[in-house]
């Protein structure tokens, strides 16, 4: 996307902030290629060398650089140019991203809460231990009061995330896990305060604060994971040129903003410009690249009257076009709408922990109420009845739910990260484990953009040398593939070489015209053809027979093995492609995928996914902008790191290594993680079966509560840590593979597969 590098000053100034008093400006740039100490040093020293730069700071975690400078000599655009001069691509970061800022604020607040809870629980625990080990009555009373003094502010502050979430749930007349947590913590606090003040029985300060501490660890880990994943920028807008050149009726040119473009306006596109809106060709000769729409990097010749979608790249000639849509209804705007619609439907997924909580929370409340009622009836003593009820609430508090699930997800995320796979959040892992059908995009995912010559036709030495020389002069993927295949031939000199947009390349050799390109165009020159009639790419020397070349896309590394492993896992596979039927069929045959759909536009891909979603959970793997809506629509999605920004932003997983083996690996790890989560729930249930009867009988002292809670937490966390040793990619096929379900691999029809 060479054209994206030319950023419009108008846009940059928008995101730079100016302090009017000191005339200090600051801006943040996203620098994706920054990755080591050398990069930091080059960037910081290089920018600081300019006299007007006040402060520059690189952030390697976020891959961002903040620049502060004074004076009018430079603007944001100039800064971007300076960074480019240092050898880095820089994209200005939108400052007003509320979602990001909010997420960071939440993360910080959680960390503060965690620190306060940690401080309070450590100190209260110290005091409690001395009480348990038999302090004198006087000392015990003093320590209880002291604990209360620490616990009250700590619980009010550190418990705030739980209290606000519980209140929000109650307002919606729902019960979530935070309701019993808040109840237990607040009730135990009040009860203990009462006890401490009258100097009576045992206090539960330590249990309440420690509960918050454990739960906050889980919350913070979860939040950190999400923050890390949100680092990738999302901006479909970047593909849309913000300005357009309007041709007035008298032929004069003027620059207008994108939102001023109206249907019927005549616009001029220079080479390298993208169509700002859907537009019809009026005049000019050029070729266009519609890869944004179809996902295929194929140059297309154009003719007058043709309509192209917004985002289409004008390659090599100036064009006059008539707008047939405005910015709000162009193809790109439509894609954004589709993505928004698809994402809201994904929001319906409920995480395992939430589903468990919806059963667990009412059960806990009921048990506590029963305990209170039975104790009241049996003893008539309200205080001891309430103590027993609080004990039930505290002892059942779901450390396994609150801590074990996030820990499992973080460990799994780290294991994935070691294999070069980034995960957006924990729910993505749960959804991946459920996926039973995998849809692959073809170009860029299963195959690379590079072409490969299937078979070399036999040419004379002269002809081969001419062909190699001609092919070497073009940048078209087909020409490059041919040049590669004939790279050992000696080159000869050619005269007036010129590329004909959308057709091919031609030149003069020994006073004869030679051409390489589209078959029909090349054959105008040739006297006949020497077989291979159906080949789309031909080469000919004037007056001689033409030669046809069959080119096919290179399979991506690991594509065949990945498809095989996915099939072995008992998952169905299919290809969704925007390419022609024949090309898709060829790739499908090579990979052994029985089911494929060709010629699909973004809307068509979504339709296929929705069709399959009726009975299956779909994993979509794709990279192009045309895949972005389907990535958002699928149950779960993966994209390679070199995918377009938008696809990366809408995918749940990003794999940064070229091999497609990341897909089966992530699927297996997701299932293993799911198993661990379920085991943890099992452990929690066993623990509750022992602890709850004890609590209901009133045998749970603060000491027992503290030990039981810590013990169950340690067990589930160590169980989760097992995932860190999940096997490596290299020896993946040896274990965990289950035989394919009968029939599911060979014939795939979404309607027939049982859910």
């Amino acid at each position: 996307m060479a054209c994206c590098a030319t950023s419009t000053p108008d846009r940059l100034d928008h995101s730079a902030s100016v302090d009017p008093v000191a005339d200090v400006r600051s801006i943040s740039f996203m620098v994706p290629s920054m990755h080591c100490a050398g990069c930091i040093r080059t960037l910081e020293k290089g920018l600081a060398a300019h006299s007007d730069v006040v402060r520059v700071r690189a952030n390697l975690s976020l891959k961002q650089i903040d620049v502060v400078w004074t004076g009018d000599a430079a603007d944001a655009d100039e800064m971007a140019r300076r960074i480019a001069d240092l050898g880095f691509d820089a994209m200005p970061v939108e400052k007003q991203d509320d979602a990001d800022a909010k997420m960071r604020r939440q993360g910080r607040h959680l960390m503060l809460c965690l620190a306060v809870a940690g401080f309070a629980s450590a100190n209260i625990m110290l005091l409690s231990v001395s009480v348990w080990s038999g302090a004198q009555a006087e000392t015990a009373k003093l320590f209880a009061l002291l604990s209360g003094v620490i616990a009250v502010p700590a619980i009010i502050f550190a418990g705030s995330p739980f209290f606000s979430s519980a209140i929000a749930a109650l307002r919606k007349r729902q019960l979530n896990m935070d309701v019993p947590i808040s109840l237990a913590v607040l009730l135990s606090l009040l009860m203990s305060l009462y006890e401490a003040l009258i100097g009576g029985g045992e206090t539960f300060f330590d249990a309440g604060v420690m509960l918050l501490f454990f739960l906050l660890i889980g919350r913070t880990l979860d939040q950190l994971m999400r923050e890390k994943a949100a680092g990738g920028v999302r901006s479909l807008a970047r593909l849309i040129p913000q300005r357009a050149t309007r041709v007035a009726q008298d032929g004069s040119l003027s620059q207008i903003n994108l939102d001023e473009v109206e249907t019927g306006m005549v616009l001029r596109l220079s080479p390298g410009d993208r169509f700002p809106v859907n537009a019809k060709i009026l005049a000019g000769s050029s070729a266009v690249d519609r890869s944004v729409v179809t996902g295929e990097a194929d140059q297309m010749p154009i003719s007058e009257g043709q309509v192209f979608e917004a985002g289409t790249l004008n390659l090599n000639g100036s064009l006059d076009v008539e707008a047939v849509s405005d910015a709000q209804s162009s193809f790109l705007a439509e894609v954004m709408d589709m993505m928004r619609a698809a994402e809201t439907s994904k929001g319906r997924y409920r995480r395992i922990a939430d589903r468990m909580a919806s059963i667990y929370a009412p059960a806990v409340h009921l048990l506590a109420l029963i305990t209170l009622a039975v104790w009241m009836l049996a003893t008539g003593d309200f205080k001891s009845s309430l103590t027993a009820a609080i004990a039930v609430l505290i002892i059942t508090c779901p450390c396994a739910l609150g801590l074990a699930v996030p820990v499992t997800h973080v460990v799994a995320a780290n294991r994935l990260f070691r294999e070069g796979i980034l995960m957006r959040d924990g729910s993505a892992l749960e959804r991946l484990a459920e996926a039973d059908t995998v849809f692959f995009d073809k170009t860029g995912t299963l195959t690379s953009d590079r072409l490969r010559l299937d078979a070399k036709p036999s040419l004379s030495i002269d002809h081969a040398s001419v062909l190699a020389s001609l092919a070497a002069r073009s940048n078209h993927p087909a020409a490059r593939a041919i040049a590669d295949a004939y790279s050992h031939e000696p080159l000869c000199s050619l005269d007036d070489v010129q590329e004909v947009a959308g057709s091919g390349i031609e030149a003069t050799w020994h006073a004869r015209r030679i051409r390489l390109g589209r078959a029909t165009w090349v054959r105008e020159l040739a006297s006949g053809s020497s077989g291979n009639d159906s080949a789309p790419t031909c080469f000919a020397i004037e007056g001689e027979a033409s030669f046809g070349f069959r080119l096919s896309a290179d399979l991506n590394p690991g594509a065949a093995a990945a498809v095989q492993r996915v099939t072995k896992l008992g998952r169905n596979t299919a290809i969704l492609s925007g390419d022609h039927q024949a090309n898709v069929r060829a790739v499908a045959d090579r990979l052994g995928i029985a089911c494929f759909y060709a010629g699909l536009m973004p809307r068509g891909k979504i339709a296929k996914i929705e069709e399959a979603a009726a009975s299956d959970k779909v994993l979509m793997v794709g990279d192009g902008l045309n895949d972005a809506p389907s990535l958002a629509a699928a149950h779960v999605s993966m994209a390679p790191a070199n995918a377009t920004d938008v696809s990366r932003a809408s995918a749940d997983f990003i794999y940064t290594r070229p091999s497609l083996l990341a897909v089966p690996f992530a699927m297996r790890l997701a299932r293993a993680a799911n198993r661990v989560v379920r085991q943890n729930f099992g452990i929690a249930i066993v623990y509750n079966c022992i602890a709850v009867p004890m609590a209901m009988l009133g045998h749970v002292t603060p000491l027992v509560a503290a030990i039981a809670m810590s013990l169950s937490s340690i067990i589930v966390v160590s169980n989760s840590l097992r995932l860190a040793f999940f096997d490596r990619l290299a020896n993946a096929p040896k274990r965990h593979l289950q035989p394919a379900q009968e029939g599911s691999a060979s014939i795939f029809s979404p309607a027939e597969v049982s859910p």
């Binding site: 100490a37 020293k45 390697l60 960390m111 503060l112 401080f119 100190n123 003093l142 002291l146």
Partner: protein, 48 residues
């Protein structure tokens, strides 16, 4: 009892000190760039 009057405040004070140090480091942005800090140590030029 006498020792407690001295020791307990000291223990709490030290704990609070640690808490304050953490809050300060969080506010000062020391947790903003965990990867960068690991790499910056390799940069021997401390003129920046």
């Amino acid at each position: 009892m006498n020792t407690l009057v001295i020791l307990v405040p000291i223990a709490l004070g030290l704990g609070l000190l640690g808490l304050c140090a953490f809050v300060w480091s969080l506010k000062a942005g020391q947790f903003d760039d965990l990867d960068g800090a690991a790499h910056r140590i390799l940069d021997e030029d401390d003129a920046l």
